[in-house]
């Protein structure tokens, strides 16, 4: 597992997960001191997903985080001060106080698209990023995240389907943390694995133990490579659990205690610490060094944020339109002659779409009608989703070779 990662990289993963957690712990304290202006969301217990997936990206790649992906922002090069100042609505924040939380980005160097609150909207946007990258000859991959609840939006479907037909280099990480606000995933979708949906889009998918950062990293790495090779989008379902309420205001009394206990034992940082120790990748001294570094960095950035001013009121009136403040320039990594006439022209002597119109492609013999009552429940028929949390990405649209055993739900042991 993850032999490709060096010792430094293994420690990197720990550093980012711990930084993510410590940063959020500090923000909870700031929230209680009324120093956070708006709401505060927690990614406690989900750090392995943010960090493991983003760690599979290269500097040239693009991403758009959701609200519980502070870890991904840190991996992509954002500083804790960005997160502190955003939440505290400071003038020194990346958005100068115009927006909060993880709603910021960086087009120029870090290649981060700012999310908006409306769930699902990022999917087609990141598909567009990927398609544009391909057009410009850049070998980039676009990654975004969505919750179990977010997958129920119409735009999620539009975006995934669009990405699929375009074979966009898009990695969509579905964080199945069992809850969407107060709604359990079973009331969100009638299927066991959200990754089953990948099959209907004809794209590759994987299911991974979201609390195992190395498994997450490996799945993401496979997905990114697949995308970069031009094989189209990949959906990764990471099973995990939201360990706090929807946001600070929510005590989450609707979450069964047994569930919290089960998942507490699955804490991704605790598990990874044990792994590092058992694998001999660090010792107490090394851990203490990293932890001290994190505290130092957080001290400094928190101080910076707390001492930063709020924005001047006049700022409210500025920046609705770009009045020449930005120079917009595409970064071409292929000769533009390839896409300008006459070289890009097409002779249209009648037209065909590849693979379309050939009658043998219409597999009539497989379309025998089945009485509705005889249809198997979807989880028994799924076969392109991987039952082994640690295995890599499987292709969509595989030949049906009969039902395989359903993917094991991490909750099974504890609950089902």
């Amino acid at each position: 597992m993850a032999q490709t990662l060096s010792r430094e990289q293994h420690l990197d993963l720990y550093y980012y997960m711990r930084l993510n957690r410590s940063l959020e712990e500090r923000m909870v304290r700031l929230f209680r001191q009324s120093k956070i202006v708006g709401g505060l969301y927690s990614s406690l217990g989900q750090e392995g997903i943010s960090v493991g997936t983003a760690y599979a990206l290269e500097a040239r790649d693009w991403m758009a985080p959701m609200i519980r992906n502070i870890g991904a922002l840190l991996v992509k090069g954002c500083k804790p001060r960005d997160i502190f100042t955003q939440h505290m609505a400071k003038y020194t924040s990346p958005t100068l106080g115009k927006d909060g939380t993880s709603h910021f980005g960086d087009l120029k160097t870090k290649h981060i698209v700012s999310p908006i609150s409306m769930l699902g909207d990022l999917i087609p946007v990141l598909a567009g990023v990927g398609i544009a990258g391909r057009y410009l000859g850049q070998k980039i991959v676009a990654m975004t995240w969505i919750g179990d609840g977010g997958t129920s939006t119409g735009v999620f479907h539009e975006g995934m389907n669009f990405a699929a037909v375009q074979r966009a280099p898009l990695v969509c990480v579905v964080e199945n943390n069992q809850w969407a606000y107060s709604t359990p995933v079973k009331r969100q979708v009638p299927i066991r694995n959200l990754a089953e949906r990948a099959k209907s889009y004809g794209i590759a998918s994987a299911i991974v133990d979201g609390n195992d950062v190395l498994a997450v990293y490996q799945a993401a790495k496979d997905a990114v490579e697949r995308c970069r090779a031009g094989d189209g989008p990949v959906m990764i379902e990471a099973k995990t659990h939201r360990m706090r309420g929807h946001a600070q205001h929510d005590p989450a009394e609707y979450v069964p205690k047994a569930m919290v206990e089960y998942w507490t034992a699955q804490d991704p940082i605790g598990r990874y610490e044990k792994y590092l120790t058992n694998a001999g990748l660090w010792n107490e001294k090394k851990k203490a060094e990293i932890d001290a570094r994190i505290e130092r960095e957080l001290d400094e950035d928190q101080k910076f944020a707390e001492e930063s001013p709020l924005p001047p009121a006049e700022l409210a009136e500025q920046g609705v339109f770009c009045d020449g403040c930005h120079e917009i320039k595409a970064r071409w990594e292929r000769p533009v002659e390839e896409v300008t006439p006459p070289r890009c022209s097409i002779e249209m002597d009648g037209w065909t779409v590849e693979d379309f119109g050939q009658l043998e492609n219409i597999e009539t013999e497989k379309m025998e009608s089945v009485a509705v009552s005889k249809l198997a429940p979807s989880d028994q028929r799924s076969e392109n989703v991987s039952g082994d949390a640690k295995s890599g990405v499987r292709s969509g649209g595989q030949k049906n070779t009969g039902a395989k055993s359903p993917a094991r739900h991490p909750l099974r042991k504890g609950k089902n």
Binding site: K98, P124, F321
Partner: protein
């Protein structure tokens, strides 16, 4: 040089901009091989290839979303809505993602959304929309609605070159009904500038898109009755050219606004308020408006005719105002 239709003028703008700048790409439903429902993009696939003329599934939110993503990569996508009514399906993307991007985090969105709009062709409740005010009301979007082939071409070029998202509305009644000779060489028409289509002394009529022609016809007939109407074509609704409006109101002291959009919340109300704020002393009569009814656009010809403002409606209002 032969006169061209609005469709041809728009196609010329797209083609010339795509030749000028490889960052310009088209995205929409049935726009490649088929050339779009109204054949606006016909022939562009041949010239620019599949990568630049992108057909999509029937997914308006995905079209607008993908265009945003492309914009962030430095491209200048032009998204076609098969009918502008369907932009409502991507209302969220337009008003929340597109419009707020530059303000929130300084990320410009240099995209154009264009599509056939307006009534008069018996399109019924879902193929006749004049959606300008939903979007003009949303800070961060520019809205253009031309009335002539010349303007359509010049404004679309400006819209594509603009660093901001522009909603470019094309009145489908005008697509093939009017023709105009266009200059040989390259030209653009600036966004945010209205134009005085006809000089006059007694009252000002402000309009745009198809109602521009209704207003001009009415002005012609009013002249025969001895009423001299000045006619202004807004061309761009957002940003609104307040200067041209106020200068004309100061000259004629009377203002009539004509639009095909429904009455309540139409731009007439906004213009009236703006004029009252800035030129109340100059007014010699109550600001009047001629608009369509506050109903959906009905299908059957006599119903749609009743719904749409016509030349007699404009003349009646103008006469009353002139006599005031």
């Amino acid at each position: 040089m032969a006169a061209v239709t609005m469709v041809e003028a728009i196609r010329q703008a797209l083609s010339e901009e795509m030749e000028r700048d490889p960052a310009v790409v088209l995205i929409g439903e049935d726009i490649s091989v088929y050339g779009g429902a109204f054949k606006v993009t016909e022939g562009l696939l041949n010239k620019f290839g599949w990568e630049r003329v992108i057909d999509t599934p029937i997914s308006e939110s995905a079209i607008i979303g993908a265009a945003v993503g492309m914009s962030y990569m430095g491209l200048r996508p032009v998204a076609e809505m098969q009918f502008i009514d369907f932009l409502a399906c991507a209302f969220n993307q337009m008003t929340n993602f597109v419009a707020k991007s530059h303000y929130r985090w300084g990320a410009p969105v240099p995209m154009v959304v264009r599509g056939p709009s307006g009534g008069g062709v018996h399109g019924g409740p879902f193929h006749s929309a004049n959606p300008e005010m939903y979007y003009a009301h949303t800070p961060g979007l520019k809205v253009v609605y031309p009335s002539t082939p010349y303007d359509a071409k010049g404004l679309l070029k400006s819209a594509i070159r603009d660093n901001n998202p522009v909603l470019f509305l094309e009145h489908k009644f005008l697509y093939r009904r009017i023709k105009e000779e266009l200059p040989e060489g390259e030209y653009t028409v600036p966004l945010g500038k209205a134009i005085v289509r006809r000089e006059g002394a007694d009252l000002t009529i402000i309009s745009y898109a198809a109602m521009m022609h209704t207003s001009l016809e009415a002005a012609e007939k009013l002249a025969a009755e001895g009423i001299s109407a000045e006619v202004i074509d807004l061309r761009t609704l957002m940003p609104l050219d307040k200067e041209t409006i106020l200068a004309s109101v100061k000259k004629t002291s009377k203002l009539l606004i004509v639009h095909e959009d429904t009455r309540t919340g139409g731009i007439a109300g906004e213009i009236a308020a703006m004029v009252c704020e800035n030129a109340f002393e100059d007014l010699d009569g109550p600001i009047q408006r001629v608009t369509s009814l506050d109903t959906p656009v009905p299908y059957s010809p006599p119903l749609e005719e009743r719904f749409l403002p016509g030349v007699p409606d404009v003349m009646r209002a103008a006469r009353e105002l002139a006599q005031y």
